[in-house]
């Protein structure tokens, strides 16, 4: 058993932070928080604080990466050194390289990249405070930042994870559940047509548990979607 592992994850139907199994942490989204970036968003999601910025469409450096028929999308996920308990050494590690990749693939399906050939759209995600679920928080922030930058998109991309702790399928793990729990399933969604753009899993699910967790994560995405739209309305007015 890992040091620090709790004996029980769910007591009297409540999780260790007081939530019900299908309850999401509190999420606050704010669009347009930076001056220099073309678009930006801050997402506070439970104990996570993540800021995302979008630059572009702009010239590609180095040039040979440019595509003649569409814009390229580049995503960088980075953790601030002070965002985690044990200081993170600056610079990309293997985990952040992988998250940057799956973030790009989660967002690319909604962007009309063909409108801006030979350019790049750059998304930067900075985790300022981490408490499990930073990749979903980052994707959520990034898609608001893209919208704030005026990048034409089919839809926003909300993301949310489900997982398993103490044998039970639950929504949106926080750090103790993430460190000591049994499974984690981050999902990103295009709400308009219910297409899934991000799916990763690690841990242990029966087929039945997996189905339940997938549905819970999709429901979580839909809640996040409303908050994303709210943040953009807040910034730009509208109905």
């Amino acid at each position: 058993m890992k040091i620090g592992q709790p004996e029980k994850f769910i007591i009297d139907g409540k999780r260790l932070d007081g939530r019900k199994p299908d309850e999401m942490r509190e999420v606050k989204i704010q669009a347009g928080v930076l001056k220099r970036a073309d678009g930006s968003a801050l997402v506070e999601w439970g104990g996570n604080k993540v800021i995302a910025a979008c630059y572009g469409p702009r010239e590609v450096h180095p040039r040979h990466l440019a595509k003649s028929d569409k814009a390229i999308l580049r995503c960088t996920y980075n953790m601030a050194p002070f965002s985690v308990s044990d200081r993170k050494r600056p610079g990309p590690d293997r985990r952040s390289v992988e998250i940057s990749k799956v973030t790009r693939l989660a967002l690319e399906p909604v962007i009309f990249t063909n409108l801006y050939p030979r350019t790049t759209i750059d998304v930067f995600i900075e985790v300022l405070q981490a408490n499990a679920g930073t990749r979903c928080t980052g994707i959520t922030a990034a898609s608001v930042a893209l919208a704030d930058a005026g990048i034409p998109m089919r839809d926003l991309v909300p993301a949310c994870a489900a997982g398993k702790v103490g044998g039970e399928v639950v929504l949106d793990l926080f750090d103790i559940e993430d460190n000591y729990g049994e499974a984690d399933l981050p999902v990103a969604l295009i709400p308009k047509n219910n297409e899934i753009t991000l799916l990763q899993m690690d841990g242990n699910f029966t087929k039945k548990e997996f189905e339940k967790a997938l549905d819970l994560a999709i429901q979580g995405c839909m809640k996040i979607y409303e908050l994303q739209k709210g943040a953009l309305r807040e910034r730009y007015g509208g109905e």
């Binding site: 799956v102 297409e195 799916l199 990763q200 690690d202 087929k207 549905d215 999709i218």
Partner: protein, 260 residues
């Protein structure tokens, strides 16, 4: 560097699939020929060469003695690494591992780690001080598609082949293997389904990978449980497609496991 594929080939592969056919005549749920050779190196503590069609992956397991992680003082340490060396494909480049290499290593690692297939607590030598470090090194020799399944299969085969070396006066005598095996208690396998148009096919060849919209890899255990998943590609899956792939993967996992 990027592989380039002509529009003509794309259309050809896609329209064949719409007729229920694949370029190389396989069914949608068929693997190419699989050959697994274990014990092919005497310098590695365990090794395997896996061929899936023309894809060739060699996996070597090396053991060393080191310190455990502070929060797991009585557990051995697993480290999985992949190298997409330029010998294996005109598109692989020298230099530090790129995102594809890192993803491959991490997804194989998750399959091993999350299944609990290595009983790491049995690899503790002195609690909090000395444990076995297990290095799984994936060396891709010929890239003709579907590295995930070949690499994960090769990794488990190499782990099953591993024998602990002798320790004398605190030094590891690598030349002298004991008969003691690694404590491997499960055989997780990974199966990858590609989506091309609306067709979902097992074990994409290189040509199929070049035209696929998305990819989904599912790692399953001997019990038929899911221990890792990874979606790839810039396309999307519906909920139903995912559940379908999960079912097919659990079945195919049983078939694949027989090669171990």
């Amino acid at each position: 560097m990027e592989e380039i594929v002509s529009e003509i080939k794309k259309d050809y592969i896609a329209s064949l699939l719409d007729q229920g056919k694949r370029q190389d005549g396989r069914g949608f749920d068929d693997y190419r020929e699989i050959i697994v050779e274990k014990g092919i190196s005497n310098k590695a503590e365990g090794s395997a060469l896996v061929r899936i069609g023309d894809t060739q992956v060699m996996v070597g397991v090396k053991l060393a003695v080191g310190e455990p992680f502070p929060d797991m003082p009585d557990s051995g340490v697993l480290t999985t690494n992949a190298e997409l060396i330029p010998l294996a494909s005109p598109t692989f480049e020298k230099g530090p591992p790129d995102e594809n290499t890192i993803e491959l290593a991490r997804v194989v690692d998750r399959g091993i780690r999350e299944s609990g297939c290595i009983d790491l607590e049995k690899l503790c030598i002195a609690e909090g001080e000395k444990v076995w470090i297990v290095f799984v090194d994936i060396h891709v020799l010929d890239y003709d598609g579907n590295l995930f399944d070949a690499s994960s299969l090769g990794s488990i085969a190499a782990l099953l082949d591993t024998r602990l070396p002798k320790i004398e006066d605190g030094r590891i005598l690598y030349g002298e293997k004991t008969r003691k095996k690694l404590p491997v208690v499960d055989k997780p396998v990974e199966t990858t389904y590609a989506k091309i148009g609306n067709n979902i096919i097992l074990d994409p060849s290189l040509d199929e990978e070049l035209v696929m919209d998305a990819r989904l890899t599912v790692a399953t255990t001997e019990k038929g449980e899911i221990c890792a998943m990874q979606k790839g590609g810039a396309g999307t899956y519906t909920r139903e497609e995912i559940l379908d792939i999960v079912s097919r993967s659990i079945d195919k996992g049983k078939e694949l496991r027989k090669y171990l």
